[in-house]
Symmetry: C2
Subunit: 306 residues, 2 copies
């Protein structure tokens, strides 16, 4: 499985006994990541058997308590467990001020290095990239500086059709170019073979977008356009639209509108107000606009293969 | 019941799935208080049905993550629940720096006032006092500035023996003095009635001492001398004495020694290292030194009546 998302919490500001605040574990290709880290995340990781030692990247959308309060405790636990491998943390500048204050005053120096990546809530930009995965942050529209995160599989190498390559006498030295999608053109330009005759398709790269806390906004629709899977907050039912606008959150209907207008394949909603004991009505409201919607139930796994 | 202590967490640094970090709820006389507030305390308060709105005083021993990381989230939840009543927080200066950084940067102003009481880890001093209760902080000996807390019922008013007072013709205006323990001496000095002839005993005031994180130290023994109930950390078994000394913690045997040497009535041990799955051996080690010892099991209630 090249994509595995585990919901560790789905509650908004006030956690309830059975709903922890925002946190997700994402394994995508060979990368093990956390997205947001509300109070109790390290306990939830134990519950759902996610190894702390595997996590190499942590993405924090903003510094409201319910999205980051679990981070200092998690870092100290990692240190106690003898971690020495550097950890990449992506978040707003103020997040690192808070973490610095903790480590400075507790005289509990971490045994490993934190590599800080300060996000810019005003622009869309690539914040991590390697040969298989690209992660971008993009502006969300909340009460304080907040970013969403877009995780995109890099374009895959094509699978070589060896028989076709041999038939056309393609030199071995060009095989890498062919896998990357290039046509074959002979040195003197006399022979031109289209790439699709020399390769098999490897499927379309997959993508996931995470929108933690935001009001309904056209720029968000643009940022998440066409993703395979979208997580979008749905703090309130639409009858609480005034409250959603006041607190710069979205309603369940608005989450569905974003998914529908952005033409995504599948939607997960979360970050529910603690006033809702049962979540069926929130989902029904979202599905009235965008059918392929699901609740981000704690402990649930969302899987994709390329 | 004039004393009710509820254990909300008993784990040291790394929380485990079934052991939350340090936090206790204490109802003593008419005061509702929290002592330490590790990650997840607000969730534990829901689990054990302790109303956030009732808490008026929070005492934080030191700013290691496992003793205070639950505080910002709890404060924001109290605010979301429309609290307007001021909240007294007692802790080291750095605790308030961290809280200030949270409230400043999250633009989530609390709806209620926090009244800051900065503790001094170098001296024993009274930090709260009214007609029924006195709370003192006293130095503990840990890696960073840390205080213990001593909760003492004030000397009780005696119950008036009305019949005896009438027999000796004590004026009504002196009844308050008699209740406070004074003898009766007539204006001309000719009559002297001992207080114990005019009152019934109201029992001895009760006391509770809390020692969160500390190495074994003679000053701690002195500070908790003679209390009815002592909570003392017991992070390790005594075979890990070297590790305890290195990290400035106590062993289960040392906790028993403190209780025995301080001549307390009853001991509760907690703050166990996550390496111990079963706590029986820790308790056995403590009981070998001080018999009337108990484990601070999560959810357990310790009660006293005056």
């Amino acid at each position: 499985m090249i994509f595995e998302l585990v919901i560790l919490g789905n509650s908004s500001a006030t956690p309830t006994l059975h709903r922890f605040p925002s946190a997700q574990y994402l394994k995508m290709l060979d990368h093990h990541m956390l997205i947001d880290c509300g109070e109790g995340t390290q306990i939830q990781m134990q519950r759902y058997k996610i190894k702390k030692s595997k996590i190499k990247h942590i993405f924090i959308s903003h510094i409201h308590a319910d999205h980051m309060l679990g981070l200092p405790g998690l870092l100290f636990s990692m240190s106690l467990m003898q971690r020495t491998e550097p950890l990449h943390i992506y978040g707003p500048e103020t997040l690192f001020e808070i973490l610095d204050l903790f480590t400075k005053n507790t005289e509990s120096e971490l045994r490993f290095e934190i590599i800080k990546h300060i996000t810019n809530p005003d622009v869309t930009e690539v914040i991590f990239e390697d040969s298989t995965l690209k992660v971008s942050s993009f502006p969300l529209y909340h009460r304080i500086p907040t970013t969403g995160f877009l995780f995109q599989e890099q374009s895959k190498l094509h699978k070589l059709n060896t028989e076709a390559c041999e038939k056309h006498n393609i030199p071995f030295t060009l095989y890498t170019d062919i896998k990357r999608g290039k046509d074959f053109i002979s040195a003197d330009g006399s022979v031109h073979v289209k790439n699709k005759e020399l390769t098999f398709s490897s499927g379309t790269p997959i993508s996931y977008a995470y929108c933690s806390d935001t009001m309904y906004h056209k720029n968000v629709i643009e940022a998440v356009s066409g993703v395979d899977l979208l997580y979008h907050e749905a703090t309130f039912m639409h009858d609480k639209l005034a409250r959603a606008e006041e607190t710069k959150h979205s309603t369940a209907r608005q989450a569905g509108m974003v998914a529908q207008q952005a033409n995504v394949k599948k939607l997960i909603i979360g970050h529910f107000s603690s006033r809702y004991d049962v979540l069926d009505e929130l989902l029904a409201e979202t599905r009235a606009v965008f059918e392929n919607s699901f609740i981000a139930n704690e402990g649930e796994h969302f899987l994709m293969n390329g």
